[in-house]
């Protein structure tokens, strides 16, 4: 099982523990990969605001590089997933647009035929590897650990570009992963809402209200941690949680925001250090302690 690995900017920047934990988990899952070191940033929807075609051209270039290798793209970021899927969807349903983009890519000797799939590690784990085989890589059953899913907008919308109709499990993929590690799902309406990151630097007050609402709901519901496949959500929900909670609820930040690979890694028996859990702003000590107390199979 081999993929063209596109880690995204944040896993190489503000959330290095995501890159490290993802790589460690991918090895355990028996995934092989080639990292796409020449690929550009997806533009995160922001570049597309200014020039849609430019954003699409950069993303189709990435998909064409993977296609040349005969590989699908594996991502570890909801935003990368969504933005690349949107570009892919746009050219797949409009051959004229694809031809226009290919003209831009021709100088580099690239021509995209439209065959590459973009798949988040979350989807790879439950669709390509499969829940049963995934469970086989775990050494611990996270009984009694309550986890709040938090998807990130780009992982769930627009559903047409993300292939939800053909893959109905994607609608509950994160809950499936939480149940696979043996955890209890804390279901709440905020799980598919916005974390506030895109407006953090534009309207911080609103952004922090979102952080406070979501993490506060998880705390009130007794969740031990929140799990997210999106490092941008992580940056906001973790990094700004102390300020957000103080400003909006007058309480302390107590909701650890765990990256998806860190959750899988914990169930695989990996250590706090291996998974970079000590690097978070909101302490992960309690959940690490709780998992440590569970005896390995």
């Amino acid at each position: 099982m081999k993929y063209a690995f596109y880690p995204g900017c944040v896993a190489r920047g503000g959330a290095p523990e995501l890159y490290d934990s993802a790589v460690a988990v991918m090895k355990r899952l028996g995934i092989e990969w080639e990292e796409l070191t020449k690929a550009a940033c997806t533009g995160a929807g922001l570049l597309q605001e200014k020039n849609r075609k430019l954003g699409d051209a950069l993303n189709i270039r990435t998909l064409a590089m993977a296609e040349q290798k005969g590989l699908d793209v594996l991502v570890i970021c909801s935003t990368c997933q969504g933005v690349m899927s949107q570009a892919n969807h746009a050219v797949q349903r409009d051959p004229e647009y694809l031809a226009e983009i290919n003209k831009v890519l021709a100088d580099e000797g690239l021509e995209y035929k439209g065959t590459t799939q973009v798949k988040h590690l979350l989807w790879v784990a439950i669709e390509d590897i499969g829940v049963e085989k995934l469970k086989g890589t775990f050494t611990k059953q996270l009984d009694g650990v309550k986890l709040a899913p938090f998807y990130g907008c780009y992982m769930v919308r627009p559903s047409a570009a993300l292939g939800f109709a053909a893959n109905p499990d994607r609608d509950t993929s994160l809950e499936i992963a939480i149940e696979a590690v043996g955890g209890e799902v804390f279901d709440f309406p905020g799980k598919t809402a916005c974390c506030g990151f895109p407006i953090l630097f534009i309207n911080q007050r609103n952004s922090l209200r979102m952080v406070s609402n979501h993490t506060g709901a998880a705390s009130d519901g007794g969740a031990d941690a929140m799990v997210t496949p999106c490092p941008l959500c992580h940056l906001n929900l973790d990094g700004y949680q102390p300020k957000a909670r103080k400003q909006n609820r007058g309480d302390k930040a107590d909701m650890p925001i765990i990256h998806l690979p860190q959750l899988l890694g914990l169930a695989m028996g990996m250590s706090e250090k291996e998974l970079g859990l000590q690097r978070h702003i909101v302490s992960t000590k309690e959940i690490v302690r709780k998992v440590d107390l569970i005896t390995a199979r």
Binding site: P16, L47, K50, P189, N206, R279, H280
Partner: protein, 319 residues
């Protein structure tokens, strides 16, 4: 087939009333919409259930409700589609709007937002021959936003309105776009400037795509908001964090092929914005201590000149 409905009931007019859920289990025709099922409940089981509907054909926009947490026109949604095996359907009134009773929400929020964008044409002259002539292309362009039936589904599920009732909201902003793009309107720049400057205007959208997803008429309000951002910048509005944010991303990818997160934070605030810098500093420091600070020199894509070439090629086409 069996329809199992769990309906949120609330009558704010009743002293001491609290919202509660009531369950109904009824036998419906296999082709039933959720609206058909609700009407059947009202007529055959519980005459006290309040709901609003009119055309029953997704034209009037009266029956917006939340089904399983997502806003939908219930006349356009079949029971079988969402609950083929009799799964329970949770029906609630739309969000972000005041509940009048049960599934009926007040239209005040929606129309107060619409009023904020001056929702009528403002030509600067009388038509020469009794009417204004507009090209087919310009009218076809407006079709997306003109499809809006004012059902309020996008307002219901807007994630910004959840935290900020002053946001103009997706439906009204899509309506504003309809006028900024209309060649017969003379106030394009005034409209764009106002939406750029106003608190709750175009820069407060988070791009979460809820409105795009739930709109039953493919208005895609968020796309319209993004177009207005671009148009507002073209009209000379460059003194916003939103503008600097987009520019920073654009320049960072052009220069390094990747996002420079540190630079994005500083650029968006504005380099001379001392209070914002002081605000960023402690979070940056904390991240540094935990080994989470983005590198000062960002990761660069290999062979990044190729990325720059694409920029130049696509930008060249635009000029």
């Amino acid at each position: 087939m069996q329809a199992n409905l769990k309906v949120r009931r609330f009558n704010p007019g009743e002293p001491g009333a609290q919202p509660r859920f009531q369950e109904y289990s009824i036998d419906v025709h296999p082709d039933s919409t959720i609206l058909d099922a609700l009407i059947q409940v009202r007529e055959e089981v519980d005459g006290t259930l309040a709901l609003r509907c009119s055309c029953r054909a997704s034209i009037c926009g009266s029956c917006g409700m939340r089904v399983n947490g997502r806003a939908r026109l219930v006349c356009k949604t079949r029971v079988e589609h969402l609950a083929p095996n009799g799964e329970q359907l949770t029906i609630e009134p739309m969000g972000n709007q005041r509940v009048v009773k049960d599934l009926v929400v007040s239209l005040d929020t929606f129309f107060n937002q619409i009023k904020r964008i001056t929702p009528y044409m403002q030509p600067d002259k009388e038509p020469e021959h009794g009417e204004f002539i507009a090209s087919n292309e310009s009218m076809t362009n407006l079709l997306t936003a003109m499809n809006c039936i004012m059902c309020g589904c996008c307002v219901s599920d807007c994630t910004v309105l959840e935290v900020d009732p002053n946001f103009i909201g997706p439906a009204a902003l899509a309506k504003a776009w309809r006028f900024t793009e209309d060649p017969r309107d003379s106030k394009r720049n005034e409209r764009l400037n106002a939406l750029n400057n106003e608190a709750g205007g175009i820069w407060d959208c988070t791009r979460c795509m809820q409105c795009v997803e739930v709109c039953p008429k493919e208005v895609a309000p968020m796309e319209r908001i993004m177009e207005m951002r671009d148009a507002a910048i073209e009209a000379g509005n460059t003194n916003t964090s939103g503008y600097r944010h987009t520019e920073s991303m654009y320049n960072s990818v052009k220069k390094h092929g990747r996002l420079d997160e540190t630079r994005l934070a500083i650029d968006s605030a504005g380099w001379t914005n001392v209070p914002r810098m002081l605000d960023l500093a402690p979070i940056g420091f904390k991240a540094l201590l935990r080994g989470k600070m983005p590198p000062i020199l960002p990761h660069k894509a290999e062979d990044k000149q190729k990325i720059k070439d694409i920029y130049e090629k696509v930008e060249g086409e635009r000029k």
